[in-house]
Symmetry: C2
Subunit: 207 residues, 2 copies
C-alpha cells in the first residue's frame, strides 16, 4: 500500500561490518537500490568507478554543485564527497528503498534536506569486539586502529540524532533485522496518506 520507497541512511563505525550486512540484505531481498556516492579523491586499488564511487574531477563535481545535482555534499580535507540526487529520486519514485551508506555529517545533512529519511546507526556488540575486528583484518597498523577507535569515541556522541541503532553480532541475523526495520518504515502513517484518502472517499460514498 506504500506509495514511495523509503530513504534509508546507514552509518556505523569503521570496521563494524556495514558492507557485509548490506551485501547480504540486498542479495536476499529485492526492492533495494544502493546509492553510489561521488568523490573527487582518487580510486584506491580495486575500487571500481560507478560501483564503489563515481570518481569525478574537481571541475565535474563543482559543476554538479552549481546545478544543484547533489542531495548533500561535503568537503573533507582536500576532497569532495556527495550523493547524486537524480538516482535517489528516481528510485524512490519507482517504490524502491534507497540505501545511502554515508558518514555522520552527511547523514545529518540528509536529515535536514529530507526530514522523512530514516537514519540507522550500526553498532558492534561491544567496543572490545570492534577493536578485535579492526585488529583481525591484519591490514592496519596499531596506530591506525587506535585512530579508528578514537574516531568511534568522538562519533558516538552524535548517534542520539539517529532514529535507530542496530547491533551487528552476526551478519546474517543483522541483515534480516535491518530488512525488517526498513520494511516497517513502509507502515509509517505519513507514507500512506494516499491510501488513507482512498478509504476515506470510499467510506464517504457509503453515507
Amino acid at each position: 500500500m506504500t506509495e514511495k520507497g523509503s530513504l534509508i541512511v546507514l552509518s556505523g563505525f569503521s570496521g563494524v561490518g556495514k558492507g557485509t550486512v548490506l551485501k547480504k540484505m540486498m542479495a536476499d531481498h529485492d526492492n533495494y537500490a544502493y546509492s553510489v556516492s561521488a568523490t573527487t579523491r582518487l580510486p584506491r586499488e580495486g575500487e571500481v568507478n560507478g560501483k564503489d564511487y563515481y570518481f569525478l574531477t574537481k571541475k565535474q563535481f563543482e559543476s554538479m554543485i552549481g546545478k544543484a545535482e547533489f542531495l548533500e555534499y561535503a568537503r573533507y580535507v582536500d576532497h569532495y564527497y556527495g550523493t547524486p540526487k537524480k538516482y535517489v529520486e528516481d528510485k524512490l519514485k519507482e517504490g524502491k528503498d534507497v540505501i545511502l551508506e554515508i558518514e555522520v555529517q552527511g547523514a545529518l545533512n540528509i536529515r535536514k534536506m529530507s526530514p522523512e529519511a530514516v537514519l540507522i546507526y550500526m553498532l558492534p556488540p561491544s567496543a572490545e569486539t570492534l577493536k578485535a575486528r579492526l585488529s583481525g583484518r591484519g591490514t592496519e597498523t596499531a596506530e591506525v586502529i587506535s585512530g579508528r577507535l578514537k574516531q568511534a569515541y568522538e562519533e558516538i556522541r552524535r548517534i542520539d540524532q539517529y532514529d535507530y541503532v542496530i547491533v551487528n553480532e552476526n551478519a546474517d541475523e543483522c541483515a534480516e533485522r535491518l530488512h525488517s526495520l526498513i520494511q516497517a518504515q513502509h507502515l509509517r502513517t505519513n507514507q500512506n496518506l494516499a491510501f488513507l484518502g482512498r478509504i476515506r472517499e470510499e467510506l464517504e460514498s457509503f453515507s
Copy 2:
C-alpha cells in the same frame, strides 16, 4: 540490548479484526503483555471480568481516579473507561511489550502522557471489505452497520496522529507484520541509551 519494553497502542475501526490479530500474535510470540481496561459499564453476555475488562463500580473507578491509578481514562456517555497504570508500568519494567487496545481518544491521551508510546492503527484493505465483514457477522442490523461505517468515516480524519498504519487483509500475515513492527521499536535510539553509554565508556577506556 533493549532496557525496557515498548508501550504499544493499537486502535482500529470496529470490525477490522484487532482481536483476532492480537490473539494470533500473542500465541505465536512471547514477550507481550496485554493490558486489560477497566470500565463501569455492565458486562455483556460472555464477557469475563479481568479478561475482557475489569468491571468496576462507579465508586471504585472514581476512587482509582482520585489515587491517580489510571494511565488515562475517559467518560463516554454514562460510563468510565480507563487503563490501570500499575500493570503497564510493571510489565514495561520487566521488558515486556505492553499492548493497549483502545479507541482513538484514549490513544491520543496516552500519547500526551507517554510520548514514547507507539500508536498503530489497523485498517481494512478497503472500506468495501470493512462493510462486508460487518455484514458477514450476521449479528448486526443494517442500522448498526451504517452507524459503524459513519463512525469509521469520522475516525479516519484523526489517524494522521498515529505513528503507523497496518492493513489487515489476512490475520496470520498481519499478526507477523505487527510483530515485526513492534520488534523494530526496540531499535529506536532512545530505547538504547544505556547500551550506547556502555560502549562509550568502553571506547574511552581504550584511549
